[in-house]
Amino acid sequence: MTLDPEHVRMAEALLFAASEPLDEATFVARLPEEADIPAILAALEEQYRHKGVNLTKLAGKWCLLTAPDLAWMLEEERETSRRLSRAALETLAIIAYHQPCTRAEIEEIRGVGLSRGTMDVLFEAGWIRPRGRRRTPGRPVTYGVTEEFLIHFGLDDIKDLPGFEELKAAGLLDTEPSGIFRDLAGAAEGEDEERSIDPEEEEL
């Protein structure tokens, strides 16, 4: 039996336009009655065998898929630059100044729990790494910064980080610590989110 090329065209258009793989019953329902569906599909499979797109049978259903060897050209790497959250920034600073330090120590210093995502972001950025385990109960993992961290921030050595007093002298600390400040902050809360010093600040 010879195939009607019109039937092949119809099956091809159906496969192309379908939003999901099609079973043979669909072809039977939508092509003319006399169409030999298995033969048509076999012919299309052969036609597309060496093309950029292949007719593939998935879970008993048919669909056109790009050839597996060409998958690489359908991928694209895109870089998006993102800013660190305040929590991530502080965590990074603490790890840099206090390394090696544990998660619990970071939480102790920041006075607030550390959400999983915060550390993940720093790992993803390639700026922190596990360094070992503290010889205390539970043997918590200690963290430190990476070489990439030093390179990114233009530091030759971790010892090059300025100390607290120097930071203050350099004007990087514009909020004078004083006993009354906390009350002020409490009163101003909500007015200026950036300056909020509520220790239970929302993470991320």
């Binding site: 359908l74 991928e75 630059s81 502080e90 990074l92 840099a96 100044y97 210093i109 205390t136």
Partner: protein, 272 residues
């Protein structure tokens, strides 16, 4: 030609046609007037011109003007609300009609009646052309209606890689700020003083272990100066945790001879 009677009867329109905004009701011999169905006076004129059943190039503008005037007359008789532009058009067509009927006045400035009629005819042809173009456009092969795009595009998979931006200044500022914040008050401090930390228990155990080589009750390693029950409970828990940690490292051995009996420890074999 009798006033108010378009030449050809195309049948009065019924409700079903009116329901479809794309179908324009045709004026019938009885001149049923429904201004809502029209897109302005030019639309009415074009419809009347089509009723002449001739090429727009050959329509009689005079006849058209008369038909339009009859149409508006009828609408007024039926006391239908007529928008101002229909009336303006009627006035203009009445003027055009008089210009076309009267012999040309050589003295009068501006366009002659014939020229005005030509311009109107041209306007109608332009509108007609756009109507037909719109139809052809809609009757063509529309993508999504007649021709399908890929139903299941695999698309280009975008692998996103985040690059984090952060300057040294920001980093230092963050540290300084949290340090400053810390300098103000530490809300956890009060609690922590009451708690006997595991680290402290570990240090104490490590120090004292060497002095007591035989099985000793673990509880004898507790600091003596703890007065309140909370601190004592905390010290007991921390010391037990510290002993377990040291046992794990082989620094000490633990035994308990009875359930709820005293837990005893002694120096382990790996004691450095």
């Amino acid at each position: 030609m009798p006033r108010g009677a378009p030449a050809v009867d195309k049948g009065s329109f019924d409700g079903s046609e009116k329901a479809n905004p794309d179908v324009i009701p045709l004026p019938s011999a009885a001149l049923v007037v429904d201004l809502d169905g029209y897109e302005g006076p030019l639309d009415v004129l074009l419809m009347l011109a089509r009723d002449q059943k001739v090429d727009l190039l050959k329509i009689s503008i005079l006849q058209l003007a008369e038909q339009y005037l009859a149409f508006v007359e009828e609408a007024r008789r039926l006391r239908l609300e007529i928008a101002a532009d229909y009336l303006v058009m009627a006035a203009w067509l009445a003027y055009l009609k008089s210009r076309l009927l009267l012999p040309p006045d050589e003295e009068e400035e501006g366009l002659s009646g014939e020229e005005l009629a030509d311009r109107l005819a041209f306007q109608l042809r332009k509108l007609e052309a756009m109507r037909k173009a719109a139809d052809k456009l809609m009757n063509g092969s529309l993508v999504g209606r007649d021709r399908m795009m890929r139903g299941r595009p695999e698309g280009v998979r975008v692998i996103r890689r985040s690059v984090y931006e952060c300057s040294l200044r920001e980093l230092l500022q963050a540290y300084a700020e949290q340090k400053a914040r810390k300098g103000i008050t530490n809300p956890l401090r009060l609690m922590r003083e009451a708690v006997y930390s595991v680290e402290a228990a570990l240090a104490r155990l490590e120090n004292m272990l060497g002095e007591l080589p035989d099985w000793t009750d673990l509880m004898s390693y507790l600091p003596e100066n703890l007065s309140d029950p909370f601190s004592r409970r905390s010290a007991r828990a921390s010391t037990l945790l510290a002993s377990l940690q040291m046992a794990k490292e082989g620094q000490l051995e633990i035994r308990q001879s009875a359930t709820f009996g005293p837990i005893e420890v002694k120096r382990g074999k790996n004691r450095r």
